[in-house]
Subunit: 278 residues, 2 copies
């Protein structure tokens, strides 16, 4: 991984397809950059797994990606960021970004009264990673964290904005309402897809923070300060996708979400096959 | 300047009081950080001076600030960023931030259709620094830059939102209207103070970008990735202000804007006195 130059790729990894929200923002905010994505769809979801297991899976993917010349790495999954970011950072000399700190910093920027909410999977909320990232910068913030285990299945059901879906969102968010939050971090890469329903439920007073947008922005900042932005002139970056699961359904979802055709390759290292049943 | 540690100070400099908008955001977004500010009120404004002169003044201030242990430096003035950022970066090993790149990156994040406007002083617009920062990242952006020399005097007159003031803003912004801009960078530290009038003139379709907020956010990102965020626990940072002009009027404006009492010291190096008449 030390052969990095401005035209090396950015490696982005996720437990499955959720990290494509980050990819879409990297394509948009950094169109000249080369991107390699790994979606571990075979072992998805990471949410209910132990931190040890998530850390092991993340390191396996990072080792696979590090066969290519990389200049930065993005862990585009809240659960994997909470479990593995520090370990990956210790092991590699290139910049490693998670999705938690960019969301936390954006919340601090936007928040007018220091009353910040966080929603995420049980694993993310249990890790208290957002609370730590926020309070490390400002100990006086009020932070209310709340796990919403019903929202990822809702997004994955693809039911859209039906009455039933609105009821699920309403119930999931009820505990937030008494806290007069001025901003809410969508601490799971799936949630931006139901941002409209969340916004309608909480009203316009609470600013919603999309970690995917914020992570791409911070990637741009970090690459710039390292002198590592792509020197593409008018060239657009090239993009390549790997998945541990079947490539056809991955391609379908990815092309729909990204709005362009992509190359997908299925990769299963020996340890991935062994670890399929968590 | 090499004695930097997480508890070293952040140096912030400006031609006068405009950079206090950045200071206010650093206090808010990074409350544990120690800050040293230098406002060159004696030689303000920098806008009409040559780039060579602005570069010389900026380097003089940086040399003064570098007597203290610093871990980062912020050039909180668009004109000085355009003229001197690269020179200062080449001469110092600590991170040096300007106000132009953070505004550019925020515009790219917020822009939905890639139609970005920039307003600033004649010096800033003539330098094309925003256009370069934007197009370096994405060559396909549409960028419309426009100098608004009447707006700084308007802010400094403190006239507030009168009919006359609205007419001046309307006239200054007229050339922007035909370009269907989806975002507008306020490329001068004075402009956020008349953001309401600018917003009313352009309508809600154009998102306004406040470089002060964005610069503080990027400072937070850069310090984090260098492992240099203050380790203050529950302690708040300490702040000290220097000005080359009379301290009393500086203190008055600064305390009003920052909402807290501050220490101000007048500093004039020999070269500052010599260079007073540009």
């Amino acid at each position: 991984m030390d052969q990095h130059s401005p035209n090396s790729a950015i490696g982005i990894l996720d437990s499955g397809v959720g990290g494509l929200t980050v990819v879409k923002e990297v394509f948009r905010q950094l169109p000249k950059e080369n991107v390699l994505y790994f979606g571990d769809t075979l072992r998805c979801p990471y949410g209910p797994r132990t931190p040890q297991e998530v850390r092991r899976f993340t390191l396996e993917i990072v080792h696979f990606l590090s066969r290519f010349p990389l200049k930065a790495l993005v862990i585009a999954c809240n659960t994997a960021t909470a479990a593995a970011l520090e370990t990956v950072r210790k092991n590699f000399s290139i910049p490693v970004l998670g999705v938690i700190e960019p969301g936390a910093r954006a919340a601090i920027k936007i928040s007018q009264h220091g009353r910040i909410g966080v929603i995420g999977t049980q694993g993310t909320i249990r890790s208290t990673a957002y609370e730590q990232a926020l309070k490390r910068i400002d100990s006086e913030l009020f932070v209310f964290s709340h796990a919403c285990p019903t929202l990822v299945p809702l997004v994955e059901s693809g039911s859209g904005c039906t009455d039933g879906a609105r009821q699920i969102v309403k119930k999931a968010l009820t505990p937030l309402k008494q806290h007069r939050l001025d901003s809410l971090i969508l601490g799971c890469t799936h949630y931006p897809l139901i941002a409209d329903m969340i916004r309608r439920e909480l009203g316009g007073e609470t600013a919603l923070i999309n970690s995917a947008e914020e992570t791409a922005r911070e990637l741009s900042t970090v690459l710039h300060h390292k002198g590592m932005l792509a020197e593409g002139g008018f060239l657009q970056g090239s993009h390549h996708f790997f998945t541990s699961g079947p490539p056809a359904p991955f391609r379908l979802i990815a092309e729909q979400w990204l709005g362009c055709s992509i190359e997908v390759e299925q990769i299963m290292t020996e340890s991935m096959v062994k670890n399929t049943v968590g």
